[in-house]
């Protein structure tokens, strides 16, 4: 490999080339900073793949596991499901930290994201609606992602202590929960911002509704 050949580098990073090919890549890398930089990024991804054990790619039920299923069912019938409002959000927040760290910029990337978050990404749709009954006004931004959508809302007219849920309805009529959060005094006064992702193609997002956790309608925007 005397010229740049990125296509070898993926398999090289994963240690899957044969010894001869691998030597050729070594020789090229010794002389090429560009390919070394590319390789460093691929190796970063390899480390990330290491978070997942190989057993993650087995499907189906265990062999000979019926007794296990039966005793698990016995235990679970006596266990109430715990209602949790906060955990999904905490998980999402932690996920961002992890991803930012892995992509190499750490805190810097995280901060840039927050600063840039006001500028909608290209292809976003922005809609505003007010609800005369509840007095809430919401601006909704649907940001395209690869096959899914990131929904940002900014809402005024909420009460401190309101526990809100964001529900996204797609054009097929299915409703998805995109997260839940609590309105602080400050957010009630200044406006509350929230965001959540749904596995709905951006052009299939039909409407975004905010409800309280108790089920009361707050405001809806139709996209």
């Amino acid at each position: 490999m005397s010229e740049h050949d990125y296509s070898q580098l993926g398999a090289y990073a994963l240690g899957a080339l044969d010894p001869v090919e691998s030597r050729e890549v070594d020789e090229h890398l010794a002389t090429c900073a560009e390919c070394r930089a590319e390789l460093a990024e691929l190796e970063e991804m390899k480390e990330f793949l290491g978070e997942v054990p190989p057993e993650a790619f087995l499907d189906g039920p265990p062999d000979d596991g019926d007794l296990l299923l039966q005793r698990t069912l016995r235990e679970v019938r006596e266990t109430p499901a715990r209602k949790s409002r906060w955990k999904p959000w905490l998980l999402a927040a932690a996920a961002v930290v992890v991803v930012a760290g892995v992509l190499g910029g750490g805190v810097l990337i995280g901060r840039q994201t927050v600063e840039q978050a006001d500028a909608p990404v290209p292809g976003s749709k922005v809609v505003t609606a007010a609800d005369a009954t509840t007095g809430a006004t919401m601006t909704t931004t649907v940001e395209p992602r690869e096959g899914w959508a990131w929904i940002k809302v900014q809402i005024t007219g909420l009460k401190p202590g309101d526990e809100c849920v964001m529900l996204v309805t797609d054009k097929a009529g299915k409703t998805w929960t995109a997260g839940s959060w609590l309105i602080s005094d400050k957010a009630a006064h200044d406006g509350s911002r929230f965001g959540g992702g749904v596995l709905v193609p951006p052009d299939q997002v039909k409407s975004v509704e905010i409800k309280t956790v108790q089920g009361k309608h707050v405001v809806t925007t139709t996209v």
């Binding site: 990125y6 296509s7 070898q8 993926g10 398999a11 994963l14 899957a16 080339l17 044969d18 970063e44 991804m45 390899k46 990330f48 793949l49 978070e51 997942v52 057993e55 790619f57 499907d59 039920p61 296990l68 299923l69 698990t72 069912l73 679970v76 019938r77 109430p80 499901a81 715990r82 209602k83 949790s84 999904p88 959000w89 905490l90 998980l91 932690a94 996920a95 961002v96 930290v97 991803v99 892995v102 992509l103 994201t113 927050v114 978050a117 940001e143 690869e146 899914w148 529900l167 299915k174 929960t177 997260g179 959060w181 957010a187 200044d190 509350s192 911002r193 965001g195 959540g196 596995l199």
Partner: protein, 196 residues
């Protein structure tokens, strides 16, 4: 309006994808929920726990406890397949670790300790790591996912993977490269360009 607390702020990359599953109430819902998880993920979680513990009986206890916890957290778990499995695998791993630690610390009280697993809150970050990666692998194309599974997770060479997948070795190599780029792009929340 500007200084919004971090927890309330939207986060552009959060891959939490959360379809609503109808109310998880009552013994029937519990049974349906656990049966579904077991049918889809049971083999994966049990195989993993068996490798970690080196003991099928201990591994079954871990799987049982993992599924019970999943039920307790059913509301949080309404997510994409990759993430659910990532959650289950990580909880299983942490249970194994906790049990090993408990055994090492208090050998005499093993039985008591095993009956009272520690509170769940400590593992959230690791849960996210595995969830995030599996979620990303769910979002890249099947061809991309497949070469990564063969080369990385099954430790196959390019030649072996080519035979297994029925494509030329050159295709395996270039797919591997683009697969790694695709994972990176998904994690960055972009199609192409990612932050360096």
């Amino acid at each position: 309006m500007m200084a919004t607390p971090a927890t309330e702020y939207f986060l552009g990359w959060a891959p939490a994808i959360v379809p609503t599953v109808s109310a998880n109430q009552g013994p029937d819902a519990a049974e349906t929920f656990v049966r579904a998880l077991y049918a889809e993920h049971g083999r994966s979680v049990l195989a993993y726990a068996t490798r970690l513990t080196g003991d099928r009986a201990a591994a079954e206890d871990v799987v049982q406890e993992t599924l019970v916890r999943a039920w307790k957290h059913a509301d949080d778990l309404d997510q994409s397949k990759g993430s659910v499995r990532g959650w289950l695998l990580t909880v299983a791993r942490n249970l194994v670790t906790d049990r090993a630690r408990a055994r090492a610390a208090r050998p005499v009280e093993v039985a008591d300790v095993v009956d009272r697993p520690p509170v769940e809150r400590d593992h959230s970050e690791a849960v996210v790591n595995t969830m995030v990666v599996l979620g990303a692998l769910d979002q890249v194309s099947p061809e991309h996912r497949e070469v990564l599974v063969e080369l990385y997770y099954r430790g196959r060479s390019v030649a072996e993977a080519a035979k297994e997948l029925g494509v030329p070795p050159g295709t395996v190599k270039s797919r591997t490269y683009y697969a790694l780029r695709a994972v990176r792009a998904v994690l960055a929340g972009h199609n192409g360009e990612v932050a360096r």
